[in-house]
Each structure stands twice: as structure tokens, then as C-alpha cells.
Symmetry: D2
Subunit: 396 residues, 4 copies
């Protein structure tokens, strides 16, 4: 295994040195007060990253998928209706999970590349005068298409319809990298994992519950034990845990929050926007459109780039790995073979990104695509030169 080149997948991200060390911890007694000195700051840190004052934060040894399951099983009962849009592979998977758990899923089909249509949500909710819909699900950032959606617009649609459903948001590839406002947007359940904006290895599901969502756990009839937040509540009150916690990763999470908050969330988001800007400039120079169908839905954490008709985009990912030892993301589901993805979230610099773009150019040239060497790099260089990198300078 060679670990020399950075990875450019949309998570797990490159891991900062300090987080590698925070996670790599000797065993402590998780029933001792030491554990509380990790648990409580980690929860408080996540709450701040969520921009929330009152969210209850839960941390499971799991992944974002486990976070989704936590969200639905702690609030819903078999047969409950949920409203959700399908505009990419990850929203598709959440839908699948809901169906497997016996929920009645009202799906809004959306072209892959578009954001979630808040107005369509609004119409459906308005029509649901009996309030059969118990939860509205939204994927903030579709990792499969590089598309962000406007969660505040969805909240407005819900409020306009005066609909009491919970708003559950998959923020797996946005939280900690892109602006996310749990309180302002009236989010009821937010789901993420450790391996994206928090720049840690995979292994933690991180979930925030509003007081309204939290209140539903008593009546929620979907069976659950591992993901039951009631056991977590009991444990947390005693600086404890219902089973053995993943202490090292939680210590990493605490440290990651410290890092993000010390840099300043807005600086973190601006940094992501800047790195993404270089990637978009490069794609433009290559003459290749993003999967995201308009500028306002372009993600700052991942870009899905459409390759010319008839070309199998997966070849780019395979060739980059085999010839240059560089990892990009393949297209998934409906856009499989049609896009390749460049992840640009978490621990990444303009300099690292340029090596990814330079690699993509070599790969595309090797495979016969009409890309001029250096063209995308030059566009990104121009972009990076023109935009200040304040926070990076501070960190150096």
C-alpha cells in the first residue's frame, strides 16, 4: 500500500496529522470520568458545528447509514408516511431503508443533477391536510451528483403549509464543510458521519435531534436497540454509554470540532468554496459540464464531471488508480459511467488539489479525451492566485 498521494474521493477525506494522533489512543476505562472528558466536549463541539443551541447530539460507533436508521427508528412507527425526493444514489438509499422499515414513502422523482424542489414539497404538504406525513427527508448535499439543495427553502415550504412533520436532513457530505444551520433552518434531525467534514476515519454516526424530534422517541414504534437514543440519554447523563464506545474516534471528533471552531466555521466554508472554485474552473477549461445543472446547486465538497457522450467515465477512475496511484470517485446509479467525481472536502489545500487536477488531465489525455495538458491546472491556478486563502495562511 502506498499512501503518498492525497485521495480525491468525496470522503473519507485526507486525515490531518493531529486527528490521526487524536484517534490513535491507548485504552482508557470508558466507565471512568476520563470518558466524560471526551464525550461531553465532543457532543458540545458537534452542536456548535451544527449551529445549534439545543440540539441533542448522539454519537454511535457506526456510519452515516446508521445515522439515517437512528433518525427514522427513534421517531417513526411502521406505516408512517414520509416525503422524500430521489435525486441521486444517497437519497435513493435512504428511501430504500425507509421502505425496508415498513414506512409509507412518498417519493418525489427529480432529475439527477437537480436539487430538491422545495415548491413541489410544499404542494404535497399542503395537500396532506390530514398530516399523514410524519417526516420530510432531504439530502442536503447529494454526494453522487455534487448537488446541494436549499434546506431553508424546504423549511419555508413546510411552514407555509403549516405542516407539523419533522424535517430530517442528510448532511453527511455537507456538515463541517458547507454552511449548515440546524436551528435557523428548523432542522429536526441532522445526520452525518465522522469521515467527511470532520476529516476522521469512518466509524461514527453523528446525529442531532431537535427537542421536537426527541419528544417522539417515546411513541416511535419502530424496533431498535443499538440505535436507541433513549439508552444513549441514560448513559450520557452519567458520562457513560450503553455499550463500549469508540473512544479514540470520539477523541478525534472532539479534536476535529476544536479545529473547525478555532478556524471559524465561516472560514472553513469559505475555504471549501475556494478549493471547489478551482475544480470548477478546471472543468470549465476542459469543456466538461458538471452534473449539477445550475450554479446555485453546485456542491462545494464534491464535483461530478460529465464526460463526453459515449465515453465510459469509470475508465478515468480506474486508470488514475492504476497508472498514477490517485483515487477519484466513480459515477453511481443513474449517472454511472457518465460522470467521474472529484472530492474536495475536508483536509485539502489548493496545492494538493492542483495535483489532483494535473492527474485528471494526464489520465484523460492517456484515454484519448480532447483535453489540453495544463489547461485545467492553469485555470485553477489563476483562480487560486486571485482568491486569498486566509485560513490556510493562519494554519501554516
Amino acid at each position: 500500500m502506498s499512501f503518498q498521494n492525497p485521495v480525491f474521493i468525496p470522503g473519507p477525506t485526507n486525515i490531518p496529522e493531529v486527528l490521526r494522533k487524536a484517534c490513535d489512543m491507548p485504552t482508557i476505562d470508558h466507565r471512568s470520568p476520563l470518558f466524560g472528558s471526551i464525550l461531553h466536549p465532543a457532543r458540545a463541539g458537534v452542536r456548535q458545528v451544527l449551529k445549534s443551541d439545543a440540539a441533542e447530539v448522539y454519537i454511535f460507533p457506526s456510519t452515516g447509514t446508521g445515522g439515517w436508521e437512528t433518525a427514522i427508528t427513534n421517531t417513526l412507527s411502521p406505516g408512517d408516511s414520509v416525503l422524500v425526493a430521489r435525486n441521486g444514489m444517497f437519497s435513493h438509499r435512504w428511501i430504500d431503508m425507509c421502505q425496508r422499515h415498513g414506512l409509507d414513502v412518498q417519493i418525489v422523482e427529480v432529475p439527477w443533477g437537480d436539487g430538491i424542489p422545495a415548491d413541489r414539497y410544499g404542494e404535497i404538504l399542503k395537500a396532506d391536510t390530514g398530516h399523514k406525513i410524519k417526516a420530510v427527508l432531504a439530502t442536503h448535499n447529494e454526494t453522487a451528483t455534487g448537488v446541494k439543495s436549499d434546506i431553508s427553502a424546504i423549511r419555508r415550504a413546510m411552514d407555509t403549509a403549516k405542516h407539523p412533520a419533522l424535517l430530517m436532513v442528510d448532511g453527511v457530505s455537507s456538515i463541517g464543510s458547507m454552511d449548515f444551520r440546524f436551528d435557523d433552518w428548523g432542522v429536526d434531525v441532522a445526520v452525518t458521519g465522522s469521515q467527511k467534514g470532520f476529516m476522521l476515519p469512518a466509524g461514527l454516526a453523528i446525529v442531532g435531534f431537535s427537542q421536537k424530534a426527541h419528544a417522539m422517541t417515546a411513541s416511535a414504534a419502530l424496533p431498535r436497540t443499538f440505535f436507541d437514543i433513549r439508552d444513549m440519554d441514560k448513559g450520557y447523563a452519567n458520562s457513560a454509554y450503553p455499550y463500549t464506545p469508540a473512544v479514540g474516534l470520539m477523541n478525534g471528533l472532539k479534536t476535529a470540532c476544536d479545529m473547525l471552531l478555532a478556524e471559524g466555521l465561516d472560514s472553513v466554508f469559505a475555504r471549501h468554496t475556494r478549493i471547489a472554485g478551482g475544480v470548477r474552473a478546471a472543468a470549465d477549461a476542459w469543456g466538461m459540464p458538471l452534473c449539477a445543472t445550475s450554479a446555485d446547486v453546485q456542491s462545494d465538497t464534491v464535483s461530478a464531471i460529465r464526460t463526453p457522450e459515449g465515453f465510459d467515465a469509470t475508465r478515468i477512475v480506474t486508470h488514475a488508480a492504476e497508472r498514477y496511484g490517485v483515487a477519484f470517485g466513480v459515477g453511481l446509479g443513474e449517472v454511472g459511467g457518465k460522470v467521474f467525481r472529484i472530492g474536495h472536502l475536508g483536509s485539502l489545500t489548493d496545492v494538493m488539489m492542483l495535483s489532483g487536477l494535473a492527474t485528471a488531465e494526464m489520465v484523460m489525455a492517456d484515454l484519448g479525451l480532447p483535453v489540453r495538458l495544463g489547461s485545467g491546472v492553469a485555470a485553477a491556478q489563476e483562480f487560486y492566485r486571485a482568491t486569498p486563502a486566509q485560513s490556510q495562511k493562519d494554519a501554516a
Copy 2:
């Protein structure tokens, strides 16, 4: 945080240097062939540690509790009957999980300190002529009481009763440390975690399924997604995973299996028996009985030691932590305040164990218990001197 002294809790164990390093891994692309070079050897290694030829091994970013949930949700349906003994806190918790998932749980109450009564299981199974019982659950090693049970006897009881129920075994604190024979004992589902015999940080649920258990997943109606082995099956076939895997921990698991198998499983078990022998000799010298009510059920991975009537055993654990920086385990549930527990599994030497026993003596003397300083240590020293430590010598 000071990490100087070893921990003597019954898991997570002290982590060997080589496993610390195996887990502390830079990010790789989990969708690349590299991941397969970790996944497949890890699964094959676990299979060997289980002493099985054909078990399907599943590895989740979770814990033993998640392993229990994997076991029941992939094989059972709401309303199914299961037979299970309660003889400690961990069997109690599995029972609780079954009840929360809507199973009909037939509980055999057993004094805490006793093993599972195979004959009682046999009678109940014989009486269940309609084969309403779909699964027999057994905790191989009750971590709360330091009691092991005879799984082969349970299998014999099932066979004698010609009962087709699945045999599900919680081997969380036995597998990798004490003899466990998946195939010989006809185990259908075995559950463990990363943080015990595998000497890793917590964060993985590890579950083995027999072909018979595996066949039930199609009809099992308990809802599941995160723990659904069908998604794992699909992924594994392509060296992939249904969500982001905990790659570093899995690399640690692969390395841990290599270590255990290189030492030889029987040597590993003998090593645990030897370390445990010193602890039992010390308890005997102190004049304190084990919670385990007979020699044949004494666990080789954890000893629960009964303190004199009227003394709150929890004070030992608190004082050891506060005054000497040493972690022991408290009593749980029915034996709360009546026992303290010394974990002696995983990465531990006779020399390390002696420091734990010496600490326990100081603590008990500090708290006014009638323990002569050096008495337990001397008994353990005598025991360790008299018994060869072959594998340790080899490892040095």
C-alpha cells in the same frame, strides 16, 4: 490523561503496539482493490479464529451489541420465540433487546455466578414439540460474573431434543481468548467485537453465520438495513461494502488474526488460562471467593471477586482509579457493589498482571479490608513461576 499503567478492565484490553499501528492508517479508497486486500484476509482470519471452515463472517462498524442485533434481525421475525438464560448483565441485555424487537422470550433464570443449565434447556426444548422456539441464545462467557458456560453441552441438549432451533452464542468476551469451536459445537451465529480477544479499540461488531442461519435471512421479517447481511453479501462479492467501512480497524482485525494464528490458538488460550490462574491464586490468598460458583465455570478472561458482606465493592474500583490510576471493573446489576472485576484478557503478561494484583492489595488495605500486603502477589508469583510461558518467550 495518563496512559502509563495497564488497564485491568474486561475489555477493551491493552492494545499491542503493532495493532495500534495497523489501525492508524491513512485514508485509502474503499472502492479500490486495496480494500479487498484488507477485507478478505480479515474475514478469513476471523473464520479461523472461530475454528470454522464455512462460517460467513460479517464485520460492521459497530460493537458487540450491534452484533446481537445482527444475529436476531437477520434470522427472526416478530413474535418468534427464543430461549435464553439470564445469569448476568450481558445475557440480561440481550434478553432486553429481544423483547424490544418483539420476540417472545422464554427466560431461564439462573443464579448470577452459575453457568447456563444445559439440562434445563434440554427439557424445555424437548417440551417444545411444535418447534415454536426458533433460536437458543447463550452467553459463552458472562463478563459480568466471570462465568463461562458449556456451549457444547447446549448443542448436545439441542441434538438430543432433536430441536431445529438456531444456536446463537455471545462470544464477546471469549472468542480469541478462550476455546471456541464454531463448527464442532454446531454454533449457528457467533457474536463478538473488536475490543476483547482481538485486542483492538472498540468499533467493530464481528459476527459469524452458519449456512443454516444464513439461509434464514430471506424470510426473517425483523426490519433492518444497517445490520442487513444481505447487503454485506452483495458488497463482499465485489470487495466492497454497503457503506463506508472502518478500514483502519479492519486492517487491525486482519493483523490481530495474523498475530493470534501465528502464536497458535491453543497457545493463546493456554496463555489466558495461565494469567487467570495467577489471579485466582491471589483471590484465594486474600480469602475472597470468586463470583463463579464452581471451578469449571471460572472464566479465563475476567474474574469477579466477591468482597466481604457489608463492604461496597465499588469503592475498590473508585479508589484504585483515583489513588493509583488503575482501572478495574465494577460489579453490574445483581452483583453491583458485591464484586469487583479484574479483566485479564487480550494483551497482558504475568508481569503486568502482578502490578494489577499489587494495586488491588494496596487499595483493599487502604479501605480497611483484611488483606495482607504481598499475599496475593506471592501466590500469583508462585503460580507464574511454576507454569511455563512458552508463547510469551517466543514473542519476546
Copy 3:
């Protein structure tokens, strides 16, 4: 290689987790300002540990032996006289170095086990009316015999004799663990390494120069380049170094100073006295005298324990390593085969020490020495129980 048991050699010590991580650093540009942010605090920290206001501190990628060479080559010229006592292997080696460098060495032979006779130094210096002696050398703590000497007494003898010679002190196994007062004692050159009181891996020579010693570098005619402090002076002024520095170790040194100073030097010294007290109590219980011939010269960092006449003490060290995987120190030079040494400096707790004592007992019993199992452990337990471990408690 097994790293489970602590080491009980008189350095290198067990390394604290935080220092392992401080040393394990990715490459930085040692010609960038980053390097200054390590270099200057490391030097300032060492100065404080030396209890000096004005000492110039030099840090070389080397060891204590290189520190000795730094001391003599930067201050002396061929043919210069130096006065030095030989009371153990390390003072012997420094003498040997002086002779190899063409110095005229006046040796005071002292029984191994005794401290340096300050009165004898005084007489010789008084007799040296022509001030032919340019430097007085003293080993503060003889690692070979576990004997400390009274440096302030030597300074008083020099002052009484009104002798202008430099006072050079080998503090390799004392600085950072035992009281050392550069300014108060009028030390001119103090020498140590990274692997003792600073608890780091070997690889740094650390040397303090008084202004008086520093002034002699211009005229000192012994050839030197690698160890020339004039090149260091030039470099330091620019946050630079005359060659490539060992950045990771220096970062470790900076962190180690932070740790020692945060704990408080007097607390650090009291901690060492306490750990040593337990070892001495154990030796006493075993009926074995220390090599140190009186209580006032007993070292707090290493104890050399005399075994019965006719017994080869080296067998203890060999057997402990082979049978129990524990490292003690052998006797060196004149006391070879007559003593074995227990190192008790740096990162060590009472709990860890007890495992070393318990091991020594098993080893001695195995080899037929008349030691009662548990006897030394009990004596040490009693000692540790009776003495508060304030700083340890704070660290926990």
C-alpha cells in the same frame, strides 16, 4: 518484539504517549520559521529545567557522550589539566575521553559506591596555586553505581580554594529527575541527553554553558566542528542550525519541558524520590544492600543492588529478560557481576515499579537466591501507601 512490559533500565526510560507523538513528526522545512517555533521554546525549556537564568543551551543530534565532547572541546586546549574523580563506569569513560583528547587528567580514585569527595577536590585545588587545572569534572549521578554526589559541596570547595577552573557536571541521569541547580551551584557546563529525565528516545545531546564557559570557546584549541557551539550560536540567532536538526526529537524536547514544568520541578523530583523509596524498601526487605555506601548518596533514578558474594548478578538480568520479558541493568566495570540495577527514572508509576519488583523476586527465587516471594513487594506497597502521590493524581 514484545513491548508489553515496562523497562526498568536506567535510561532510556519508558516514553509517555504524548512524547511518542511529539517526536513522530512529518518533515518540515528546517530553514523555515516553523523551526524557530520549536528550537527556541526547547532551549528555553531546558534552561528552566536546569534552574538557570542565563545558561546558553545547545542541542545536538547526538548523545550524552557527545555532550561530554562538546563540554571539553569548546573550552579546553591540548595539554590542559582537568581534575576528575573516578567512582563508576561513566566517570571512567569521561576520563578516557579527556585522555584521548590529549588533556592532562588528574584522577581522584574513589571506591565505586562512594560519592565524589569534595574535600579531596578542595585540597588538590588549593595546592594548584598556578591554576594549571582548567576544569573540574563531576558526575552528578553515577548511573553505574546508583550514587549521587554533592555538586554544591564541590562548588564550595572550589570557591574556598578561590580556584577559577570551570565546573563541568555530567547530569545525564539526574537532570529532569533529581534536583539540579545550574545557577545556584555555579555550574559552568552541564551535560545531559534526551533519553533520561526528558523521557525521550536517545538522540539528543543537551548541554548548558555558563557565560564564563562560553567565553572560553574563542581560545579553546581542541579541534571540533560537529560539536562547535560557535556554529550553533550563529545558527540560533537566525532560528537556524549549522546542519540538519533532528526536528522531531527537538519537538519532543520542547514538549517534555512543558510537561515537567507544568507538573512542577519539585513535584517531579518528589515523584522520583517516592518511586525510589519503594525500591529501596524492597531491597532492604530482601536483605540486599545497595551499592551506594550511605543513605545520602543513594540515587533517586537508579538503584544498584548488591547480590550475595559468589553469585553472578548478571544472571538476574539475563533470566528476567528471557523468562519474563523484563529489562533490568547489569553491573558495569568494577561492579560487573556484583550488582544488578533497577532504573526508576522518567515515566514510571508506583504501580509499574511494583511489577518490576515482583519480577525481580520471581527471578531471584528462580535462581535460588534466598528471597521470600512478595516480601519486597509488600515493603514497597507499604511505602507507596504511606506516601502521597500528588502529581500522579493530578496527571490521572
Copy 4:
């Protein structure tokens, strides 16, 4: 401190993950057989990397500068003559060291940018009929100018002159990265450090002695103790060391040799030639000449690039560090301000190198130099695409 971007200084290099871990070792007893299991393979590995059958290899806790001192003090006596060319800062420093140690240094002044003139050496040696010259010194690769010299030609000149002087070679920035043939070239002393071709942190001087050079240590009268190979010889024979060794770094050296030899030395060299080729292609595209005055002296480990007359090249290094967090090397001595240096040795890929070149372009554009963005990157990309990277592929 941010460690995200690779460094592009000519050593220390980026450190491979596996070497980070090999160096980061808990304390072992360096007087136990364990140490021999590190020492002997490390020495044998270095011997193979030197392409020698019989060289005695010495490893000191020091740096290349200490290696130079080892070379001269173990073979020469005050007043001895040595012949040496000055063609850069590092040859200059070795000359300075010889002078400080009282040697009679015959200097051949060479334009910085040229290699060592073997013919000029030959003439001087031929004229030295009295064999007053005891050693010929040669810097294989001048790190300051990016110039390699032909050591075999120097050996031929010595042989032609039938001159018995020792041939001492500074291979600090070549050994392990560029072809070096200790035996074939008749090298008598070869000097290097841990932080270049061996890809480790700084902290080891590594020196090879021919039997002829080794024989001179008995009569060499320059004073030495720390660097005395006679003490090393005595130690090595017993798997020991004359003082405390830097065990972790030596374990790293053992592992680094394993890595280099597993890849194959010729593959390692070819890999360096390839990476260097891209850098040279970029410099050419920028219209900037190398400091190396002809293609046959261009180094494969470092390129010194001349900036336009009147421009202070140091600004590039400063701006790259401050604005982009990237480290290049400044010009030293005679070429200070006239060149900036790109290190391309050790652990580096084409992909990483492209990020360095892209950064250099942004920096030069920022500073107003007439460099077209992407131009050098494109030239390097073309070069890398056209040349296979066999070994990299194998490593992946």
C-alpha cells in the same frame, strides 16, 4: 503547523508512512539481543545500498556533518594533506571542517555549477610524487547546485597516478537515490545521513569504510571519541554500542533498506531520474536554466533553477511558504539569491511533484516573473505520461 502539502526541499524528504511507524518505537533495552536484531540488518542493508561486499558500516546518532568528521578523524593526523574541490556550499563546508581540524587542504576551485574536474585531480596527484596527499575528497552530489560528479573518473585519475590516497566521498544527497558503487569505484569512505535517500528523519550519520581506510584508524592521530569507529567495532562485535543508540531511527534505517532493496536499487534510481526529468522539462518550459552547467552533471535528486538576472530568487521560497505553505530550497553561498532549489528525492511521486511545479508557477506569476501558468506543469505531465513508472505501480 500544517503538514498537508509535501515538502520539496532537498532533504529531509517526505517520510513514507511505514518508516514513520518503524521509527516510532517504544523503548527497548539496547543491551539486550533485541538490539542486535536491528543493528546487524541495518548495517547489512546499508552495505547493500552502497553496492559493497566488504565495507564496514558505522551508524552514529548524528548527521552527515558528523559523518564527514568520522571520515577524517578516523583516518588522518594533524598536518596531513587532503585534496578537495570546492564547487558548492557543501564541499565548502567539508573544506572548512578539514581546516579546523588542522589538515593541510589543497583546494581546487571550481565554478559553482560544474562538476569535479577529475583530470585536474589527476594532474595534482601525479605531481604529488611524495604522496603527501593522504586523502582525496569528493562531493558526489552538490546539494547546493544540483550537480553530480563522476566518482569513477576520479578513481581512474587516482589509479592512473598510482596514488595511494584514500578516496572519501560525500554521498549525502545521492546514496539511496542515485547510482553509487562503493566497491566498483574504489571508494574508501562514503558518508551519508538518514534524511535523504533513506527517507527518514535526520539524526543518523551513516558511514562506510573500506578495509584500507579501516586500517588507518590505528595510526590516525586526530582526536576523537564520539566518532571513534574503534569503539563502534568493539560494540558491534557484541551487538552493542559504545553509548545509547538511537534505536528507533536505526529500526527505520533497517526498514528503509528493506524497502529500497525490495524495490530494487536500479528501479529506485530510475524512479528518481524520471521525477527529475519532469522538473527539468518544467524549468525548460519556463525558459529558466539549471545551475548545473551541462546535462551530464544534472542531479537526479535536486534541481537548482536560475532565475532572471536582477531577481532575488529567495523571494520565491519565502512567498511559496507564506502564500501556499510549500517549502522549496533557497540558494546558498555563491548562488544565494540566484537560484531556488526543488528537491526531488526520496519519497515522492510524479503526482506530488506536479503540485510542486504548479505551486512554483503560481509563485513566479505572483512575483511578476514571465511564466505562463500551466506551462511547466504541461511539460512535466507530457514527460511523466511518456515514461513508465513501473516501480510506483508495484508499490501501489
